[in-house]
Amino acid sequence: MLAKRIIPCLDVKNGQTVKGINFEGLKEIGDPVEMGAEYSAQGADELVYLDISASLEGRKTFTDLVRRISERIDIPFTVGGGISSFDEAARLLDAGADKITINSAAVYHPELIGQIASHYGSQFVVVAIDARTNGPEWQVMTHGGKKETDRELFSWAAEVQDRGAGEILFTSMDHDGTKNGYACEAYARMSSFLTIPVIASGGAGSIEHIEEVLTKGCADAALAASIFHYGEIKIEELKRRLLADGVNVRI
């Protein structure tokens, strides 16, 4: 049986893994390659690396980093952060990325999804969606959650699938950073009509939260950052608990 996946996410700036501390700025918390290798040894099923450098220099550093990650890491990894063109996706594939994630660019240039997917296969294209509740609706946001769009989450998710995305990585901005659990109902609703896998992101604070989104939320994978980075949850322990509770995970 196909296993549910546990995916640590690493934000990278100028070649270093970083973590925001109470809006006061970013703290460097380690070498992305070493951290990835460590997560992989602990039993992570995949890794996601997001480039949050805003500069051209940072971008170049990130491509070099992707090359180093692919030399070292022997599990699948996804890279993203500001990818806005076919050529950028191609460059990251060439550096060794297994998948890329596109977010804002997919909203403004939806044809990009099909362009990349038809050339490199759907499995290469993960579309990331950030959304928040706005009244009764889930509103899609771009640019790291700063910019509103007129798109609604579920119709956008369906469109993204039709256009050739291989997976959807949905982050609930209502839940992200709260450590109060994932947006389970939204994930369950998404999984009910999508035929591609859904990765849940935003809100993980405990093992129970992760278990809930993989069972009640029907998510195919759970992504988290800070709880792994600060060792609040060890991946080995998380997976042992999930397995004991009947969730199929790779150990």
Partner: protein, 196 residues
């Protein structure tokens, strides 16, 4: 020297990196002479089966591959091309392995492509030496090879389908999963192959 066949069907870097991690010497080539004289041959590949077959044809590699006598490993599309035929683009393939390659049966709630970690059981032969039955390996595919009593050396189940996770006939091996992305289990399988 291991030859990785380059037939312009996708990215070969992960396979290269996996061999580098094992300290193996390899070259990426489409030259028939280099392929024939290699100690081992790996045929990776992603993409669509009928166009991948077309690329093999254009590179003049069909008969070269069929006539190889050293250990050969097809990975993912590489394995599918070594089968009898594929429903993807409805193409005849190399016919080294007897099974046909078919699209996964559509079942409500079962997602296609089959993507992620799944188990291999019924393991047989030197490729899986030291690999416990039920180990997890990484899969990404929408088409899968049928079972064959004598050639199937690993079985995987997904949705309504039981299929060949790996095949072997004589010196020819194939894995539908990606050993180069399957952590320590995959590394051991590749090591087993290059030590054949």
């Amino acid at each position: 020297m291991i030859a990785i066949i380059d037939y312009k069907a996708g990215n070969l870097r992960s396979v290269e990196n996996a061999l580098k991690r094992l300290g193996a010497e390899y070259e990426v080539t489409s030259d028939p002479d280099r392929i024939r004289s290699a100690s081992h041959v790996i045929m990776p590949g992603v993409g669509e089966a009928s166009s991948a077959m077309q690329s093999l044809r254009e590179e003049g590699l069909i008969d070269v591959i069929k006539s190889l006598t050293q250990p050969v490993l097809g990975i993912c599309i590489g394995l599918q091309l070594m089968c009898r035929m594929s429903e993807e683009g409805n193409t005849p393939c190399l016919g080294i392995f007897s099974p046909s390659v078919r699209r996964f049966t559509e079942v409500p709630g079962v997602k296609i492509p089959h993507m992620g970690w799944n188990t291999i059981t019924g393991l047989r032969g030197p490729l899986f030496e030291g690999i416990p039955d039920g180990s997890f390996v990484y899969y990404v595919h929408s088409f899968r090879p049928d079972l064959d009593e004598s050639q199937t050396i690993a079985v995987t189940e997904y949705g309504a389908d039981r299929y060949s996770g790996a095949l072997c006939k004589g010196n020819f091996y194939g894995t539908q999963f990606h050993p180069e992305k399957s952590g320590p289990v995959g590394a051991r399988i590749l090591k087993n192959f290059i030590e054949l």
